[in-house]
Subunit: 340 residues, 2 copies
């Protein structure tokens, strides 16, 4: 069933049928009614691809995310889909697994589908030029989960540097002098690098020395967090507190601490990053940095929508707030640490 058949049944031209959908005000109400009834009756379903082709524009959004199931990316992806649906956009989502070649394949797929816009979760370091290339193809872009320095690229993110600084600062202000770090792949991922730098800077600002022997960089996952914590606890001079730059890492670390018969926060403090839902249900509940996962998703869609539908050319850059959620996993270091 296509428009021309509906047109015939309704005794009008195909153009009128099209208008009945896209600009109802331009067609006489009775005619419109008749058309819609016939569509209903014969179960007509609009062909979006044909329409897109003719209109030279789709309402598909491409979404690139490292892993939709990990961390709180899932919340972001879901918020994107909800908002997109609300604004009558379809989304096609791809998981890059932090892999450059997959990312490229996905992006090509997006281009072939002529997506109207793309949402990039962070980007590979040095990827600005790549994004500009997309923009030149008239594809609206917005980077999320990151705050960029580039003045010409949309983003809806938060300050990873500042958030990490704050988390570390929290530990310092509790009196910790020896603070370990478990962090993701900071060589590859911009936002992770920023967290690393925030940690380091907080240390330096308070006259604490940065000690690479209590810093572990690994994949941001539970098992890896577990192993990383083993490494930290086995250091010649183990830390009294650890900042894990992702909750998965932190929760994995908690397991190791428990295995060793140590207690949190009595023997060691731990702060995470993300505030995944389970963080509040850990034992003890995890002190962590809450990130505006859902907000970023829906706001990013709004930015794209505004650029695509309203043709708004202005660069939009939103740096949202994060919150340090203090729960039970952080406390002052044991007095014994100081020689009791």
């Amino acid at each position: 069933m296509k428009m021309s058949e509906i047109a015939e049944l309704a005794g009008v031209s195909i153009a009128t049928v099209s208008r009945a959908f896209r600009s109802p005000e331009k067609v006489r109400p009775e005619v419109r009614e008749r058309i819609l009834r016939i569509c209903e009756k014969h179960n007509y379903i609009y062909n979006a691809a044909a329409g897109d082709l003719s209109r030279q524009r789709t309402n598909i959004l491409g979404v690139l995310v490292p892993t939709a199931n990990k961390s709180v990316f899932g919340d972001t992806v879901m918020a994107i889909q909800e908002k997109a649906q609300e604004l009558n956009f379809s989304t096609i989502t791809g998981n890059t697994l932090y892999d450059k070649s997959i990312e490229e394949k996905l992006l090509l797929q997006f281009q072939e589908r002529r997506v109207a816009g793309t949402i990039l979760t962070g980007f590979t370091i040095g990827g600005e030029e790549f994004i500009r290339q997309l923009m030149r193809q008239k594809i609206a872009c917005v980077v999320i989960w990151e705050k960029l320095d580039a003045p010409d690229i949309n983003y809806v993110g938060f300050d990873n540097y500042k958030a990490a600084y704050g988390a570390t600062d929290h530990l310092i202000s509790l009196g910790h002098k020896r603070i370990g770090l478990i962090v993701g792949p900071h060589e590859k991922v911009g936002r992770v690098k920023k967290r690393f730098e925030g940690y380091k800077r907080a240390l330096e600002d308070h006259g604490l020395t940065f000690d690479p022997s209590i810093v572990v960089s690994t994949e941001p996952d539970l098992l890896e967090g577990r192993q990383a914590m083993q490494q930290l606890l086995s250091a010649p001079q183990p830390p009294t507190a650890v900042f894990a730059a992702s909750d998965r890492l932190a929760i994995g670390g908690l397991a190791t601490i428990k295995e060793r018969g140590l207690r949190v926060p009595r023997d060691i403090s731990v702060v995470g990053f993300d505030d995944v839902e389970f963080a509040a249900y850990c034992d003890p509940p995890l002190t962590t940095v809450r990130v505006p996962a859902k907000e970023m998703g829906s706001l990013a869609v709004k930015v794209l929508h505004d650029a695509i539908v309203n043709g708004n050319e202005k660069v939009k850059q939103y740096c949202l707030d994060t919150d340090l959620i203090i729960r039970g996993s952080t406390a002052e270091p044991r007095k014994s640490s100081f020689g009791q």
Copy 2:
């Protein structure tokens, strides 16, 4: 840049260019080379929508999931996307939030995009007829996370009934006589209903009476699990073990138990369902039912691919295995329960 321009530059017809992509064997190697080089040089990007329109067939898959960020659905969705990408399919994913009207909107969107196939995560009870309707529109369908009775509908699921039976049976065989249940919305969701029935039947088979006063049905989430457990513990005769038909529910419940100063599994045993990654990191590690989340996703895509690309008409029904993962949250009931 479109095919006709490439054709001109290459000094061949547009048909040849098209063939260079879709049936390379039908074009002389040198010509093909030349065409590809020119495409490369001028940065030609294939227009999938135009191709789809002409070919009267897309390679888009529609994926319907209750919530992509909850439970282990995220694993399934991601597996779907990976497999789809591997087979050169795009996926468009929608979250229904268990809402009938959203589901319908999403499905309409899928139809408008002329998806070649859809993956439905379970379905609303009585939705068989609806699926058949999609099938009549030549849309390949496969239901996941569920085992269906209908002989004509593809599915890649597991036996929710049996899995729940097994979990309950585990508790019974440990010696528990009074076993509570926390379960999702079993009136709405087929697979949840099956779990409910599995629990009930296990009780009956062992001569234990089903007591509605220690059964709570609620949204399958952490907070709800917490509240449900409060309700169970406040019952006139509280259970010595609880089967929570989702890990989120179980983990929420664990928090309540801890708050009350009780200990797991000494005072009460808990078994969950899903085996989310955090289950192994709970305190104590959660005994739970592992579900083949990723396998279902990739296998479902394969089924669709086979039906779409190879035109395989045979109904495919896969019932995958689940495993009861026994960890630290279940044990024999305290002797005192029996009157010590």
